[in-house]
């Protein structure tokens, strides 16, 4: 009888808790590895242009340069991509291997891995240090919230979005943001090289 009661208690508690094992206690040493301000706290899963499933955590140990785009974009994105290329060309050759340049889709419906792949090939960005990522619409919204990137779908094919390039250090902490198109990227590059040297 007691067992039944206990089982019922546990059952009714489990009804009220929420998904994703929130209550699991992460061992202290493990949680120390990821700092409070790190994007590696985000549990979301992402898919690359090679259709590989990754968590952001797997990028740990690199300096990440991230921008949000969508491949059918005709206005700002080509310029954002050009800005990213310009940054890449100016990186310190010695530490470049520690840097990843990442383009995150704000239109995951259209931007399937296949589509990201062909976009990468077309733009000659289908190799290191370039990486394309997509996830669910909800994860994308959350990721944008972390980056303080605003976006809105304004028609079936078009989005409005802020033009922000963000730099994260080895630990996944935001260290620099450049806002705007075709802006002077001297400080951005400085930040990337400085962080990449530390690795």
């Amino acid at each position: 009888m007691k067992k039944i009661i206990i089982a019922l208690f546990i059952f009714s508690f489990s009804l009220q808790s929420c998904k994703e094992g929130d209550k699991k206690d992460i061992p202290a040493e493990k949680s120390k590895e990821i700092s409070d301000l790190s994007i590696y706290n985000l549990p979301s899963k992402w898919t690359t242009q090679d259709n590989k499933e990754i968590e952001l955590k797997s990028l740990k140990g690199n300096v990440l340069v991230m921008v949000m785009i969508y491949t059918s974009c005709k206005a700002a994105c080509p310029r954002l991509v050009a800005d990213m290329r310009d940054i890449e060309s100016k990186l310190d050759k010695k530490t470049k291997k520690n840097v990843k340049l990442i383009l995150v889709s704000i239109d995951p419906k259209t931007d399937t891995p296949k589509r990201l792949k062909s976009f990468a090939i077309e733009n000659k960005m289908n190799q290191e240090p370039w990486l394309f990522l997509r996830s669910s619409e909800e994860n994308t919204r959350e990721f944008a919230a972390v980056l303080a990137v605003n976006y809105k779908q304004i028609s079936p094919v078009d989005f409005s979005h802020s033009n922000i390039i963000s730099v994260f250090n080895e630990a996944g902490e935001l260290v620099f943001q450049q806002e705007g198109l075709g802006v002077n990227n001297e400080k951005t590059i400085e930040a990337i090289n400085r962080e990449a040297q530390k690795i």
Binding site: C18, D36, L37, K152, F159, N163, E179
Partner: protein
């Protein structure tokens, strides 16, 4: 034996009741409206039928959530998910101090609000859903052109500390929802889809370098000053922010389970 059964029944009923209360939602019927911001070429936006919480989430309800999800408590929440003012008026992790248990919880970040709703099997309402439900007064689905309605909202903006009031003391709108105006501002799931720069005079022409395509998301009716205030406020938010007059409620696309 009998006592055991009593305990079990009592316990199950208790949890049943509290869940029923948590699930106090009403249906909002599908319809179209032209939002102040966000529609391209001022076309009406379709809002599909959904369910909305009757009241904003209270201090007591949020405390209950924190007890089960302690990583969202004042001292444990990660910096990436909330700034320093998170639950600033709470005395400690599990004590909301002098605040009323039936007052809306405020000073919560978007991440915490989002998680709360997920844990109830719900989600935050979209901005379109929120605005659609909020344009109703007691009798009409869309009361935005009514002078008294706008005056009511604007006069609330002038009052201070309404966040200390209890839920359910403003009017019950057409859908059966309370406190859309007159108590606290509320988070929406896509609050970060607004395009206003800090310099409001500049937004008439939109800043093309900061925002791609922002010209097409300009305001439709600048006479709706009350809504303009809400959009401007949302536009100034970041997901980590928490302010004393900003709370939230949840929505759902499907019928809430009891």
């Amino acid at each position: 034996m009998k006592i055991h059964f009593f305990i079990i029944t009592f316990f199950l009923m208790l949890s049943g009741f509290s869940r029923a209360q948590e699930n106090g939602m009403v249906p909002v019927k599908e319809g179209t409206f032209v939002p102040l911001y966000g529609a391209s070429s001022k076309k009406p936006v379709l809002v599909k039928s959904f369910y909305m919480d009757v009241y904003p989430v209270t201090n007591a309800e949020f405390l209950n959530f924190i007890k089960k999800n302690q990583q969202y408590s004042k001292s444990k929440i990660k910096g990436i998910f909330a700034d320093k003012s998170y639950l600033s008026y709470w005395k400690s992790d599990f004590d909301f101090g002098n605040a009323d248990s039936k007052s809306p919880v405020t000073s919560v970040s978007w991440f915490a609000a989002k998680k709360y709703c997920e844990c109830q099997g719900k989600r935050l309402p979209t901005m379109d859903e929120w605005e659609y439900a909020a344009m109703a007064d007691e009798k009409k689905v869309d009361a935005r052109t009514k002078k008294e309605f706008n005056e009511y909202i604007l006069s609330w903006y002038e009052k201070s500390k309404t966040y200390e009031n209890k839920i359910g003391q403003t009017f019950k709108n057409y859908w059966g929802i309370y406190d859309m105006h007159g108590l606290v501002w509320e988070w929406t799931s896509d609050f970060n889809s607004i395009f206003l720069s800090g310099e409001s005079r500049k937004d008439k022409s939109s800043d093309k370098n900061l925002f791609c395509g922002s010209a097409s998301v300009n305001a439709t009716d600048l006479m709706d000053y009350a809504a303009f205030m809400r959009y401007a406020f949302r536009g100034s938010l970041k997901a980590q922010y928490s302010t004393r007059n900003l709370g939230f409620r949840c929505a759902s696309s499907t019928k809430p389970k009891l």
